[in-house]
Amino acid sequence: MLDFTFTEEQEMIRESVRDFAQRKIAPIAMEMEKTKQIPEDVIQGMAELGLIAPTVSTKYGGQGFDAVTAGIIAEELSRADPTGSIPVFYLVQASWGHVFNKYGTEEAKQEILPNVTKGKWFLGIATTESDAGSDVLGTRTTIRKEGDHYIVNGEKMYISGVREAYTRGGGHITIAKQFPDRGAKGMTMFYLPLQQKGIIPTYVDDLGREGISTGGFTIDNVSIPKHYLVGEEGKGFYIVHEGYEYARGLIAVICAAAGLKSLERGEKYLKERKAFGLPLAKFEALQFRLAEHYTKLSFLRLGSYWALWTYDREGQKKATRFEVSKAIAMAKMFASEWSTQAIDEVMQWQGAFGYTRECTDQAAWRAIRSFAWAEGSKEIMRVIVARELLGKEYTAYK
């Protein structure tokens, strides 16, 4: 019953992505801290290999990959890019590409998805607002029907890839309130192209993942054609969680990979650096920390793939929605924390050098720290697992 192996095809995918990522991404990764963007030839190289939104059907230029296979790609990209920029660029589009592919209209998919998979446009997600993050029902942005189209008003904040979609083209799958009195059944999702009148972007100076922007935008009387709806009116709240879960699973893999990669750098340093006449690697106090972090992160890695596998099993009708939510929340709950703790330790081993911007691991620390919030905070993961254990009737609020 237990079989922890990947298929032959998945192994080939890993090998190809690893070789590409180590040759084309690893050498330029730290430069993104300064240039604040992903080099165009890297994006084009990713597109040529089929690494952008590979979860989208082949019909729209994707690969039709399942969540586990998408996870393998995420892992290799994370191992190559300590700044986390390319992993974010990848995971957002893979997750929300999957959602768009499943719930978007045929017309919108044909128009948008090939541009995304070709690396021309960026596809993001916009749910968070200045006054509403974890509490999606607190969303203030509104959408209303007007004739054969919709009118959107509001503001979104702390959104990944705003500059990318605003300058390259593309947009964000956005959630807004359509029927204020219907609670969870009153939310609607739609695709919002950012290059249009009525959208004004803003940017935040966040701590890490420097190669990709974080920002927000105001939405002032923007008109959306009917075919940009993602799923039916009033279904947004449910659909958004499917996307979150996909993203959380990938994030968990990315955190494990970044931490394990940092430990590899750390091991090398421990062997090279001497103090008191001995290589640091000989001090058991440090050995134990290495062993502990490695063990935790290896379990995190396994748990993440298990969660993604559970996600795929739902597609095969072998797992329920609730099992998926719980598995994914368990995978993400400690992902950022364990990974940043390991990376923090590796910075510590490097002495004062660990506190300089030259040190690769500090960039990884800043990147991975974001995942304690992004796509669902670590506290909310606990809320979800507890809810699945105790039953909905014990949720503290509606």
């Binding site: 032959e8 080939m12 995918i13 190809s16 070789d19 040529e48 082949t58």
Partner: protein, 262 residues
Amino acid sequence: MKILVLVKQVPDTSEVKFNENGVMIREGLQSILNMFDQFAVEEALRIREKYGGEVSVMTLAPEQAKSALQKCLALGADKAYHISDRAFGGSDTLATSYALSLAIKKVGDFDLIMAGNQATDGDTGHIGPQVAQFLGIPHVSYVEKIENVEGDKVLVKSLLEDGYRMIEVKLPALLACIPPPNFEYSNPSMMGIVKAKNKPYVWLKADDIDGDKSRFGLNGSPTRVMKMYPPPKRSRGEVFTGNYNEAVKKIIDVLKEKKVIS
């Protein structure tokens, strides 16, 4: 145009370690497609794109070399032939090229056969020319580029020690290829990998290729490897430091002293 590329799986020697006796530690080394062969495959695919046709790949190797052929299919080759049989164990380059040439005769009429100029492990550079000899067709080595195909002729750029020559050769022919210094190899695309598993993969046993069985494997291999050792370390050359004029003067003095110049 029907093209066949001969490929070999080799240990990844980019991170090779040696034991205290100077023998290569093979354990833990990954197996990869010989880089010369990957170049030959990519060149074959370019020719196919330009002139149409079909690209097949072939190896003589144990089962585990399947991943190398699979990679060729993922890069875009159309069909793979895998010759694998205990009877071929211990083949030297003569037995290998004999068996390959029999298999080639068996499986089809190819207009062009391509190989790597050398394999990064054995490194003899024998196989290409020997296969051509067995097949009775012309061959060119050190081919860096196929410039043109016209009718039954190909024009190729072949490297010399201090330059290159353009050679026109009549098909069918064999080209032993060498990647140019700026060669940037491709990674198989996701689509390529997915498609590879539905492409024809043909296994061939010793019984499937007609030939003199006494010339297969160890029995058919006159070569014996006596000993493997790393070449003696050369002493480091002398480095002249200091400012430009001083260093040049010192070099001239030494050259005069050694009577290289007067």
